[in-house]
Every structure is written in C-alpha cells, then in structure tokens.
Symmetry: C2
Subunit: 131 residues, 2 copies
DNA sequence: GATCTTCATGACAATCATTCTCATTTAGAC
DNA sequence: GTCTAAATGAGAATGATTGTCATGAAGATC
C-alpha cells in the first residue's frame, strides 16, 4: 500500500481545503466545503474540492462517512480506529469506541471464509442542542 | 407508525418484483432487479421497481444496505434485527448477530445526550468462492 | 358483471452528487 | 529562469434516483 503513494504538490487550493475542513469539527460534504470557501472569497473550483478531499481521505488525513441520504462527508481525523455518532441535523460528531467489535468481526468473517473484511459502522441521532 | 400504513394493491408488477427479489438471496439494486425482470420478458418500468422496492423496504419486508459505491441494495429479510456480511463481488450475504452492540450504542448515546439513535452497520469482504 | 373511484403504472423528463475532459496554470526539480 | 508533469477550473457528462402526468387496472359498490 505505502509503496504506491505519491506526495501531492502544495498548492494554494489544497491548503485552503485543508484549513476549511479543519475549521469545523462536524462532518461536511464536498459541496459544503466548497460553499464555505467561496463565501470566504476563495476561487477554488468544485471539482478541485472533490479531488482534494478524496485524496486526503485516501491518505488517511480525513475520516469519511456516508450520510443517510448517500452523500459523502469528511472530517479531520483523530488517529486510531474509531466510529462516529453523528447528529442528523447539525453534523456534530462524537468519536466512539466499540471494544470487541473488531475481534467479533474477524471471528465471524473467519467462520464464513470471508477475507479482506472492511466495515462501515456509523450511528446517527439527534444531539441535545438540536432536539 | 402502524396507524399511517396503507395496504398496497396487489398488482402483477408488485408480485413480479417480490418474486424477483425472493429468487436470489444476495443483495441486489433496483436496476439489477429491473434488468432481471426484463430479461425474463416482463414489461415492468424502472420507476415502478424503484417505488416497489422502496415501499417493501419501508414496510419491513426487505432489508436494505448501501453498497460501498453508494447504491441502495435490497434483499428478502429474515425477521429480527441483524447485520450483514456481504461479498463485495458476488453480493452473497451472511446475516450476523452482534450481541451487545445495541446496548453499547444506547449507553453511549445517553452519555452524550443523543436521541433517536439509528445505526448503519455493515461488513464487506470477499467470500471464499470469489477469492 | 358493470361502474366508479382511486391508487399504481410507464415513459420520460428532471435532479443532483459526483466524475470526466481538456485547455491552462503552476509547483518543484534542474 | 526553464522545463515538465501534475494540479486546476469550467463546464460537460454520467448515472442513480425521483418527479410528472396521462393512462390503466384493483377492488369496492351496486
């Protein structure tokens, strides 16, 4: 995996996107980030935001989730594996730990002969401020 | 919830869709089901397949997942809450049980003041036949 | 069985997130 | 400063899903 990685160039746009994501702890979609940047006067293109966020997520710099309606949302990542409890209306996020989940998964996968297991575990709810 | 439900009419199309989903234990998208039906000579419209599958899922008749690339896939449902281990290439599915997950979730949600918790937990891997 | 009301259907247009294309710009190496 | 490959921007293209609306058929009623 690490052998095929390339170091991306340091462009103004990439820095702007990185800052915009880091500025807010809630999950945000590419479109949201793009809007935010445009409102701040940036001239970044939508496609660039999509490409940059995708690349950052691939390199492990960002966490991604798929919102209930199918959109991809990004958020600056805390190192270490974890899951999220996301507020459906404001996007506020809490990182949660699910001890034993990994082990259970591997055990079950082994039982059924599945390899290269990947999991998508997210929780959605309404946070106290939005209730 | 039960008060707003309506019993759908028994149309030929609805029966065809139901049969097509039941015929295959793997998760399939609306488009796939539609293709299958057309190949069998059916004249169902794509929109009808979408609407029917959606309605069946809403009534609890079908399970749904979102594939890694964002599409919605359906499968005949075994009663009771459970999660899935899905083969990325053939869609073969194993229903798995994650004891304690519900309880852990509720506890964590309570700690952070989140309400109406919903979770999306799916596992993807490569099954033995596809490896 | 004929009639009527209402929901379901089908064909196609519309939507919307995401990706592609390609001409232009620019980061970073020399 | 020059050069070259990678990054960008604008807009077109894609593709899953949903909306529209005229037509058809379930199922209730007679």
């Amino acid at each position: 995996m690490t052998s095929t990685e390339r170091t991306p160039r340091n462009t103004r746009q990439r820095a702007e996107v990185r800052d915009a994501v880091a500025a807010n702890p809630a999950f945000a979609t590419s479109q949201t980030i793009h809007d935010r940047l445009r409102h701040e006067g940036s001239k970044v293109g939508l496609a660039t935001v999509y490409r940059t966020l995708q690349a950052m997520a691939a390199s492990g710099e960002l966490d991604t989730i798929r919102t209930p309606d199918g959109q991809i949302a990004y958020r600056t990542c805390t190192p270490g594996h974890h899951h999220h409890l996301v507020c459906r209306s404001c996007g506020r996020t809490v990182e949660i730990d699910l001890p034993g989940l990994e082990a259970t998964t591997r055990r079950i996968a082994g039982e059924y002969g599945f390899a290269e297991i990947d999991h998508e575990v997210e929780f959605f709810g309404t946070c106290s401020s939005c209730a």
